[in-house]
């Protein structure tokens, strides 16, 4: 059983808290501290972003984070080193990567997966790799061999037939995109969000976690009433953006924000 599956089956929480931040922003060593802080303050699963030069599914906050990160010398050695350090701090918390497909493809799928697994990664989210591609099938097969998960995105525009087909190459959980557009904080969500998530739960036998746009404890609380997990990226990245030049300040601000969100969905 995959680590994510057993986590959701453990019944340790009503709704999982899944924070995200981009590795290497403002530098790789600080990322280790940020990761540890987020883990210590209540992440159930942690999404680590591998920066990509052209993140088309991301809004301005995460785009800027990727750009800042890429000003450092990018290397997979650094990515895996930092990942392992975060993993070693709290090995029981599942870590997943969120990145675009080109860096993975370029590294080589099996090489990437072997090294990611060694570093403590148990799943992947790839926003520009739809499930119905040859590469996705290959990736899913290779991940299964390693007992790792491929977490696909489902959106408000996804139709039933496609959602059903998607479940064949999906595992871990479903990343439900709460609204149209790209990542970024939003004030409001579509009125049928609850119904869409219920529909997904009835259609796919996987936990449904909601992301894109969630930033406040109130929003997290409200959506956690019916989603199996809450994913927050841009709001966390904004904390890093606003305080990143001062590591101590960032760590304090992150601890405060993460613990508030965790408390709101308990």
């Amino acid at each position: 059983m995959s680590k994510i599956k057993s986590l959701f089956e453990s019944g340790r929480f009503k709704s999982a808290f899944i924070p995200y931040f981009t590795l290497g922003d403002p530098n790789y060593n600080d990322s280790i501290e940020f990761g540890k802080t987020i883990l210590d303050n209540g992440a159930d699963i942690l999404e680590l972003g591998i920066p990509f030069s052209d993140p088309v599914a991301d809004g301005p906050v995460i785009q800027r984070a990727a750009a800042r990160s890429l000003k450092n010398r990018f290397s997979f050695d650094e990515i895996f080193r930092v990942t392992k350090a975060i993993h070693d701090h709290k090995p029981e918390t599942p870590l997943v990567y969120l990145t675009y497909f080109n860096p993975i493809y370029h590294c080589g799928i099996t090489k990437f997966l072997d090294r990611a697994k060694e570093s403590g990664i148990v799943g992947l989210v790839i926003p520009d790799l739809p499930f119905d591609t040859e590469e996705s099938e290959t990736l899913f097969r290779e991940l299964k061999v390693r007992d790792m998960d491929l977490i696909h995105l489902v959106t408000p525009a996804s139709e039933k037939k496609r959602i059903q087909a998607l479940s064949k190459t999906s595992s871990g959980f479903i990343y439900y995109v709460t609204s149209f557009g790209v990542t970024g904080e939003r004030r409001e969500f579509s009125v049928d969000l609850k119904e869409r998530i219920k529909f997904l739960k009835d259609t796919i036998q996987l936990p449904i976690c909601a992301g894109f746009g969630i930033s406040t404890p109130d929003q997290a609380n409200q959506i956690s009433q019916y989603a199996d997990g809450i994913i927050i990226g841009s709001a966390i990245q904004r904390v890093i953006e606003e305080n990143g030049s001062d590591k101590t300040k960032t760590v304090t601000a992150l601890a405060d924000y993460i613990s508030k969100i965790r408390a709101s969905i308990s």
Partner: protein
């Protein structure tokens, strides 16, 4: 699944875009297939191409260039004579008609040199559609005339300041806009790039170039040309030109891509020479990237060629060897720009000037009594200020 999916050219192509766009891409694909078979749509498209764009564009015999180069006879497929001054209008009209059929009231586009933005703003004005054009802030500066025209036509220009602030970033931003407004908006992709079905649709709407050139040449000369040449950025004019000739094995096909300042990463846009297989803007193709799969900024003297990827069909044609793609440097393109202007009285776009440089070599190699057709993809009014600036730097 996998290889059975539509939209692949060999290993290249496909649909690698965020999930939020998938339904829209499927709707576009099925609508296009339906419209392709519709006599009414065909008639409507032909009407606008003839009466608004000015098609068929002429095939001009370039007597003075032929004499100067001393080789094959040179013929020019005059896309510069289209309304708005380039081939881009062919595709903009076609896609605007599809958008109208789908009930989309808003159209968006990305643009580098501004010709596709201008074409989209033009059809937006003509069909009364809200139009937004994403353009890199650097390109807004260096292609200011087109930027001004786009605004004058009533479209909104949104300058993109991220990254290198050129075509790549404008494309990313247009994709983000589409993801947000997908139910009301059609994204008129300007080159034969992007997720399926865009490379196919753009190629089809540009294939008038090649089919007209082929039949006109045959009518006048009772044979096919020996070679054809076109410039390649994303590759829309070239795939439109090449497509009708691909099965004519006796016709040699050449593509001219931007060699820029030199071979170092960041100095050129020579995707077919230096690119490696990868995934960008929804398609699997050849891309200029570093050892970690991060996209390397492209460079070209011509804003329209300044893109680190290329249409997937070109990647395939390069791999199969059917098309011979060659690099042309900024300096060579600039020399050809001046030469064609002075010898033929035609100011070509800087993009097209790359094709002229390759054509000169090919014409010499072919020798006399052979024929070479160059796709003159657009006129160079938009480039005059930039060329004068570059000539000033040369002094």
């Amino acid at each position: 699944m996998g290889k059975n999916l539509p939209g692949y050219f060999g290993e290249f192509g496909g649909r690698y875009s965020p999930e939020i766009l998938t339904e829209a891409l499927e709707e576009l694909e099925s609508t296009y297939h339906k419209l392709k078979k519709s006599k009414k749509f065909k008639k409507e498209l032909e009407y606008y191409l003839k009466n608004y764009v000015g098609r068929p564009s002429p095939l001009t015999y370039a007597e003075r260039l032929t004499k100067l180069w001393g080789g094959a006879r040179i013929w020019l497929k005059r896309e510069d004579l289209n309304h708005t001054g380039a081939h881009k209008i062919n595709n903009a009209i076609g896609q605007a008609l599809i958008a109208r059929f789908m009930g989309k009231k808003r159209i968006i586009a990305e643009t580098g040199a501004g010709q596709h933005g201008l074409a989209t703003a033009t059809v937006g004005a003509m069909f009364g559609m809200e139009t937004v054009v994403y353009m890199g802030a650097v390109d807004v500066e260096r292609q200011n005339l087109n930027a001004k025209k786009i605004e004058m036509l009533g479209a909104k220009i949104l300058p993109v300041t991220a990254g290198e602030a050129t075509l790549k970033e404008a494309t990313s931003e247009a994709m983000r806009d589409w993801a947000l407004n997908v139910s009301t908006t059609h994204y008129i992709v300007g080159s034969a790039i992007g997720p399926h079905p865009f490379p196919m649709i753009v190629r089809d709407f540009q294939s008038f170039i090649g089919s007209e050139a082929r039949s006109e040449f045959k009518k006048r000369n009772k044979k096919l040309p020996n070679a054809i040449v076109a410039c390649v950025g994303g590759g829309s004019n070239s795939i439109g030109m090449f497509h009708a000739f691909l099965k004519d094995k006796q016709v040699a096909i050449y593509g001219a891509e931007a060699g820029g300042l030199g071979p170092k990463p960041g100095e050129h846009s020579a995707t077919l020479t230096y690119g490696k297989t990868g995934f960008l803007h929804g398609t699997k193709t050849l891309i200029i990237q570093d050892e970690f799969g991060q996209i390397v900024p492209a460079h070209s003297v011509s804003a329209g060629l300044d893109y680190p990827g290329v249409g997937p069909e070109h990647a395939y044609l390069s791999q199969t060897g059917r098309v011979d793609y060659r690099m042309v440097t900024d300096e060579q393109a600039l020399d050809s720009f001046l030469e064609v202007t002075r010898v033929e009285g035609i100011i070509p776009a800087l993009e097209t000037a790359h094709a002229f440089h390759v054509a000169r070599d090919v014409a010499k190699d072919l020798g006399k009594k052979k024929d070479l057709v160059i796709c003159l993809s657009g006129r160079g009014d938009k480039d005059v200020t930039e060329v004068l600036r570059l000539l000033g730097e040369r002094k």
